[in-house]
């Protein structure tokens, strides 16, 4: 009997939860704010679905509601991707060690 592909996706999902569990526990508490902003940015990989929705179907310029919702979702996710990664970068740049010459 064949295994439903859903089971494979479920396996990926469950194993990723475990990976997330161990990886996040090893994040140093002083970087918890950047952790939140970067998880925000990466969860916007949902833009993949938005792009598919935006480009779905027709080749002429008649857009369905489905396309338009896709466009909107692209914008929202893009705000998050650019905003999330850049603000994380900005924060991480501020974390400095004590200067040795002092």
């Amino acid at each position: 009997m064949e295994i439903d592909p859903f089971i494979f996706r479920l396996s990926i999902f469950i194993l990723s939860i475990f990976i997330g569990y161990y990886v996040v526990w090893s994040v140093t508490p002083s970087l918890h704010t950047p952790l939140m902003s970067v998880t925000n940015a990466i969860s916007s990989v949902i833009i993949v679905g938005a792009i598919i929705a935006g480009l779905a179907g027709n080749s002429d310029s008649d857009f369905t509601i489905s396309n338009i919702l896709g466009f909107l979702a692209i914008s929202l996710a893009a705000v998050n991707i650019f905003g999330g990664f850049l603000v994380t970068q900005r924060m991480l740049q501020m974390y400095k060690k004590k200067k040795k010459d002092k």
């Binding site: 996706r9 990926i12 990723s16 990976i19 997330g20 569990y21 990886v23 996040v24 994040v27 140093t28 508490p29 002083s30 970087l31 918890h32 704010t33 950047p34 952790l35 939140m36 902003s37 970067v38 998880t39 925000n40 990466i42 990989v45 949902i46 833009i47 993949v48 679905g49 938005a50 792009i51 598919i52 929705a53 935006g54 480009l55 779905a56 179907g57 027709n58 080749s59 857009f63 369905t64 489905s66 396309n67 919702l69 896709g70 466009f71 979702a73 914008s75 893009a78 705000v79 998050n80 991707i81 650019f82 850049l86 603000v87 994380t88 970068q89 924060m91 991480l92 501020m94 060690k97």
Partner: protein
């Protein structure tokens, strides 16, 4: 050229792995910047592969790029302009966007299932329909919940809890209704149930967050962070996309762990926080009597004198420092102290501020080296040997009642042992009790000096007097 489904699946897997590395990098500040780069790379791969796998470029492509650009510019602008003190609001706002885009993608897939290989309208695959409903419902809850959190953090909405009779019963009924609606949607394929499901989910997000007070925001933000992950994972199952499933699981567990850490920092159970209403209670009789006890209050000169004669000082920052934007002034004060060969360290309570790590970011912004900043368990033993504790904008996290008074609402909460210091300086605007609505015995101690002023002004004045 159209990329084969197998090849693009491999690339999605690669971007999923890069996202894991992005989080892994955050285990230390040195590797964190590289981690962020991995994240950006993973995202670039995911977006590029999506374009290549669709292949047939119609006029729609131009629109996609325009909308991508508009969003990107807005995001970049916000990222450069936002002050570090506003980080909790920003994160809450960003969560709402993830939630809303999950909802939009789910609606789009529901209206045009062929484009996503999910069947046809009125005949969508059962599994996809369930995944879609879950993704859309969690997305909607994340959206409206984050909006409320944002409004509370921004001060547009009052931070005090809004409670009413039958609140929990209503929430429970609505949650059951969601399950029922999902079942009806699957058995009838009628779009009406889908719309009602969405509307109720928006309502639940709203109702879940209004009873939760301002100082519980660290838990709320972490929780919404987690939800945004589960929403993304739900959509990932619908789209059969491993990058989304991996990311959703990572973000979901990340937010859950942060919520757990925050709850532990307050010694409260997750449900206790979520049910809300904390901090709304009136002060108890006994604490009202204490109001009349004498306190010693001083000015900047007294504080400067105390610190000048100390050999070690521990700084305890709290939300008040963020409100007064006092981090730069604080850093200048510490610089002056260090010139006088006084050892200065910072002690951070896990729930100081309005989000996990809030204080650390503000201190980093003010150029405080991160190896001078310590977490509660690292530094708590040092208070007994320190000469001065300088508490700036914190209150409840130093309250000894958490250890001594079983009647206290914060009993059992881990606190910073500020009381063990030889002398304690409290920068506070007034004697008013903290968020938990309870009096702090420390204010009335023999060796405590209260500095009633705005945190920033007081710190600047102390520096002048050093």
């Amino acid at each position: 050229m159209i990329m084969s489904a197998n090849l693009s699946a491999i690339f999605y897997l690669i971007s999923g792995v890069l996202f894991i590395l992005a989080l892994r990098g955050l285990s230390s500040p040195e590797t964190s910047r590289q981690g962020n780069f991995f994240g950006i790379l993973g995202m670039t791969i995911a977006i590029t592969v999506t374009f290549l796998s669709i292949g047939s470029f119609s006029t729609g492509l131009i629109y996609v790029l325009i909308f991508l650009l508009i969003g990107g510019l807005i995001g970049a602008f916000i990222a450069y302009k936002i002050p570090m003190t506003a980080m909790p609001e920003l994160v809450a706002g960003f969560h709402s966007l993830v939630g809303l885009s999950a909802v939009l993608v789910a609606i789009s897939a529901f209206l045009n299932p062929e484009a996503f290989n999910l069947g046809s309208i009125g005949n969508i695959k059962l599994a996809s329909l369930i995944e879609m409903s879950i993704g859309a419902a969690i997305g909607a809850i994340t959206f409206s919940g984050s909006i409320i959190a944002f409004l509370k953090l921004q001060g547009i909405m009052s931070g005090s809890p809004i409670t009413f009779r039958g609140q929990h019963l209503l929430n429970a009924l609505l949650l059951i209704l969601i399950v029922v609606l999902t079942y009806l949607l699957c058995s009838t394929q009628s779009s009406n149930f889908f719309w009602i499901l969405l509307a109720i989910s928006f309502l639940i997000g709203f109702l879940l967050i209004i009873p939760i007070g301002g100082a519980d925001m660290p838990v709320v933000i972490s929780m919404l962070n987690s939800y945004s992950g589960w929403a993304a994972a739900g959509i990932g199952f619908t789209l059969e996309n491993s990058a989304l499933i991996i990311t959703g699981a990572l973000v979901g567990s990340s937010g859950a762990i942060l919520s757990y850490i925050m709850c532990k920092g307050m010694n409260r159970s997750f449900f206790n926080v979520i049910l809300g209403g904390f901090g709304a209670t009136e002060q108890s009789e006994s604490s009202r009597d204490k109001e009349h006890r004498p306190v010693k209050s001083g000015n900047a000169e007294d504080a400067a004198f105390l610190m000048k004669n100390a050999s070690s000082v521990i700084i305890v920052p709290g939300y008040g420092m963020a409100v007064a934007q006092a981090q730069h002034a604080l850093r200048e004060m510490v610089d002056t102290l260090k010139k006088n060969d006084i050892k200065v360290t910072y002690a951070i309570h896990p729930v100081a501020g309005r989000m996990p790590g809030h204080m650390n970011v503000l201190l980093a912004e003010a150029n405080v080296p991160y190896d001078e900043v310590f977490e509660l368990e690292e530094i708590n033993n040092d208070f007994a040997n320190a000469d001065v504790a300088f508490v700036i904008g914190a209150n409840d996290v130093t309250n000894p009642a958490a250890k001594s008074d079983p009647q206290s609402p914060i009993y059992g909460m881990p606190i910073l042992d500020v009381e063990k210091c030889k002398s304690v300086l409290f920068v506070k605007r007034s004697l008013s009790p903290g968020y938990a609505g309870i009096d702090n015995d420390l204010f009335y101690k023999e060796n405590t000096l209260m500095l009633f002023a705005d945190a920033k002004k007081m710190t600047e004045e102390i520096t002048k007097n050093l």
